[in-house]
Point group: none
Chain length 255, copies 2
Amino acid sequence: MEALSAGQFALVYNAFSFGIATFAAATLFFWFGRSQVSHHYKTAITITGLVTFIAFYHYWRIFESWTQAYQVADGVVVATGIEFNRAYRYVDWLLTVPLLLIELILVMRLSQSETVSKSLKLGGAAALMILLGYPGEVSAGIDSTRMLFGVLSMIPFLYIVYTLYSSLSDAIARQPEAVRGLIRLARNLTVVSWFFYPVVYFLPFVLRMSGGTSTAVIEVGYTIADITSKAVFGLVILAIAVRKSEVEGLTGARV
Amino acid sequence: MEALSAGQFALVYNAFSFGIATFAAATLFFWFGRSQVSHHYKTAITITGLVTFIAFYHYWRIFESWTQAYQVADGVVVATGIEFNRAYRYVDWLLTVPLLLIELILVMRLSQSETVSKSLKLGGAAALMILLGYPGEVSAGIDSTRMLFGVLSMIPFLYIVYTLYSSLSDAIARQPEAVRGLIRLARNLTVVSWFFYPVVYFLPFVLRMSGGTSTAVIEVGYTIADITSKAVFGLVILAIAVRKSEVEGLTGARV
């Protein structure tokens, strides 16, 4: 069933190692950056680093699982019989995806009640989205199950996109002018990079790919999406926090 | 194909271990030094340490891969059939080479727009240079592929060299007099140490070396180049940041 070439094995292998290095470096960068923002934004930056730290842990596990699932000798890839654990990604997302939305809410420094209500709604929808995607992802080979849960998972996803562009837009308009562009960038980066996941999820299904090609596309695709939505997104959140700390430090005002 | 002598195996083995120790020590030195520079330069020094941290991670992986690829018994080196993963270097460079240029730009403390535009141009060219070199490096034995991608990779490289000596020269002239010499040194060190990479890349090709000799020259050569361009370069960046913190602390001026 699974015919993985040596080149495909190496590509996925190197993508996972790239993920480990990127997430470790990003985590340290964010936590060092914590000293450069005012105390209002320290929690947002702590969480920004936690997200990449959790991703670092899971990419380490994924890498180990990948090297245990296959043996490469003299250019030939042989499955060892130990299954590659795809579930690590969902365990990771269940923790990190709600936290990513909470990062964005915290760095906006809304009123306490607004922060709690938006975090619960968006974080809850994000958790539901991941839980619904899982049965589809692990149903290797059964197209109808992959399709059904993929579509179900899109419902909370579209609710999140709608909320980010409706009620969050009002909140963005109340942000200091100096950071409004950056916050819109963070919001758009979330939506664009998150759209990558359903594309990767449905692509092998739509293009009727299978075996090694499907595996390589899914794993490298998810890795690129993860780095964009967690590490690159985190850089924008840090930039917002630094800018807001400077602006508010000068005026002493909340907004 | 690969006839590695016990001496060549040991030389590369020890060079990798030297790399691990050097990069770990450099990382700690830079991050300790972070407390000795003003807040304007903390990000530059954080990144200086991140570059050596990422290199430390990859030298650890490279070392592990090297010891898995060969067995030495009674002075004879036997390939185990597990391939030595040359790609780790390219994964490393894809992350660290753009960051090295960003270090240099950040420590100059240019205007925000100039920082962003120069980082994107130089960082993007550096990433392109690495991506183009990769297919050539992994084409073991196929000279024409190595030649083609090596030459293609030289185009962004020469663009970087040109930019460092043209538009960056103007920016250097606006730096405080006390650090102008050090910044020129950092710039020249970048160009000289980076020229080492194409030399190592093309040398086995030009000298018609093969097998063990070629492997030893490439691996030891890249290790020396990595230590120069990341750890030694980082020391110069730290020296610039310390000097500028002192000068600006006295005058309170931006430049």
